[in-house]
């Protein structure tokens, strides 16, 4: 085969791969055959005639591909919202051990916070140093375990048990960076430097987005589990606020343990039951977080005129809880159009 002809044919084959799944399944081989016929017909006219045929195809290619994607999306979305949910492949964690493992992060984090609060119990300026640091260590150990588990889950390409761990680890990293940045901001200092802080923010946002996109690509159920991981850490971090000055309510922080157990039960319910059960679990998480926030903030006497951070925090938390399932539902037709599954 003529060198240019072969090269152009291979390049054209690559171009046809980028059409939507349904279209390329039906027509790509035929299109490649027709393009080959066009090339063969012009072969005698020389190399430039071949390149001209290719250029004519290339010129029309973006418009043709875009048109097909528009038609494919219109067709897929045209089936209605319910089809996005019901047409997705069913998914749940069959293995009970994996289901328990997936449900562990809230229990670990909740018990860590509660035990740490029990050990410290008094404001940091009166408590003996050894108790303060033992309490902090007790809180940090489960946080480190979740961070390690999340890293392991990401390295293992997110097995079924790993979504909550990965979501928890990423949200934990965000919470840690926020805490450190706020401490530095009290002294009017950036965390690293103004430029590096922006870079760090971008990296964190990209990390969260990547995790949501990857899990949403697999399905809304898996992405929902990642969201539960986000919501676990983001929601329970609020207990640390109760222990901070001027509240110093370590008794409230001990509630983290029962809240963690309930969140773990909801997570277990989510991974083992059907879609109705999943919706109930997500609603349960939302209600749970709202109640926890109300309890903590009702104990916090804000100075008059100062806006309560309750509403923005609740909105952010609800966003964290819903971003996964919603991205999964939107990703479903995208996946169907591109991948056909």
């Amino acid at each position: 085969m003529n060198l240019d002809l072969g090269r152009l044919l291979r390049t054209y084959t690559l171009l046809t791969i980028l059409y939507p799944y349904g279209f390329r399944q039906e027509f790509s081989r035929e299109m490649q055959a027709v393009f080959q016929e066009k090339l063969v017909a012009k072969k005698a006219a020389g190399k430039w005639a071949l390149w001209r045929v290719f250029w004519e195809e290339l010129r029309d290619w973006p418009g043709a591909v875009l048109t097909e994607y528009c038609f494919a999306f219109r067709e897929t979305f045209g089936r209605g919202l319910m089809s996005l949910i019901t047409e997705d492949k069913s998914w749940k964690i069959e293995n009970r051990r994996d289901a328990i493992l997936a449900s562990l992060p809230p229990v670990l984090f909740g018990i860590g916070i509660a035990l740490g609060a029990l050990v410290i119990w008094e404001p940091w300026y009166v408590v003996p140093q050894w108790r303060l640091w033992t309490g902090v260590a007790i809180i940090l150990v489960p946080a480190a375990v979740i961070a390690l588990g999340g890293t392991l889950a990401i390295i293992k390409r997110l097995p079924a048990w790993g979504y909550t761990w990965a979501g928890g680890a990423v949200m934990g990293l965000v919470a840690l960076v926020k805490l450190l940045a706020e401490d530095r901001a009290d002294f009017g200092l950036p965390l690293l430097s103004p430029l590096l802080d922006v870079a760090l923010l971008v990296i964190l946002l990209l990390g969260i987005s990547a995790l949501v996109i990857v899990t949403a690509w697999r399905g809304w159920r898996q992405a929902g589990l990642t969201s539960l991981g986000f919501a676990t850490i983001a929601g329970m971090s609020i207990f640390s606020l109760a222990t901070a000055a001027p509240l110093n309510r370590y008794d409230l922080a001990t509630l983290a343990a029962p809240v963690g157990v309930v969140m773990a039960l909801l997570t277990y319910f989510y991974v083992r039951k059907g879609d109705v059960g999943r919706v109930i679990a997500i609603l349960g998480f939302g209600v749970m977080n709202a109640v926890v926030f109300l309890v903590i903030f009702s104990a916090w006497d804000l100075p008059p005129g100062r806006p309560s951070p309750l509403i923005p925090l609740l909105v952010a938390l609800t966003g964290a809880l819903l971003v996964g399932p919603l991205a999964g539902l939107v990703g479903r037709p995208v996946r169907k159009v591109i991948q056909g599954s």
């Binding site: 035929e30 299109m31 055959a33 066009k38 004519e56 010129r59 290619w61 043709a64």
Partner: protein, 113 residues
């Protein structure tokens, strides 16, 4: 069915239907025919041709027919007009004839084109 609901046709679709009027053709033959019919004014890329064919198949204006294959034995798909497609093409031709007639009438009254 009122054929006029589907009119006017785009130039590419009109020429594809017109190309299939004498009988079934495979993709490359349609492409060459359209170019010849339009005096090289309409040159379809494979993406445009097969995008249009997909829509025409879905609308039921054309159908796939078995083709005996080329000299290399490779199976090729051919496309043929359906009755619906023929009806649409006739309606579009009639529509254009009316337009031409109106234009001719007006120009015979002294208008300049």
């Amino acid at each position: 069915m009122d054929y006029n609901d589907n009119l006017p046709l785009s130039e590419a679709v009109f020429f594809i239907l017109l190309s299939l009027l004498p009988g079934a053709k495979h993709g490359y033959a349609v492409m060459k025919d359209v170019e010849a019919l339009s005096d090289s004014r309409v040159s379809l890329s494979t993406g445009t041709l097969y995008g249009a064919l997909k829509r025409l198949l879905e609308a039921g204006w054309v159908r796939r027919v078995d083709d005996e294959g080329d000299e290399t034995g490779r199976e090729r798909k051919a496309y043929a007009l359906t009755q619906l497609g023929k009806g649409i093409l006739e309606a579009e031709t009639a529509r254009m004839q009316i337009l031409v007639a109106i234009t001719q009438e007006r120009s015979s009254e002294g208008g300049v084109i």
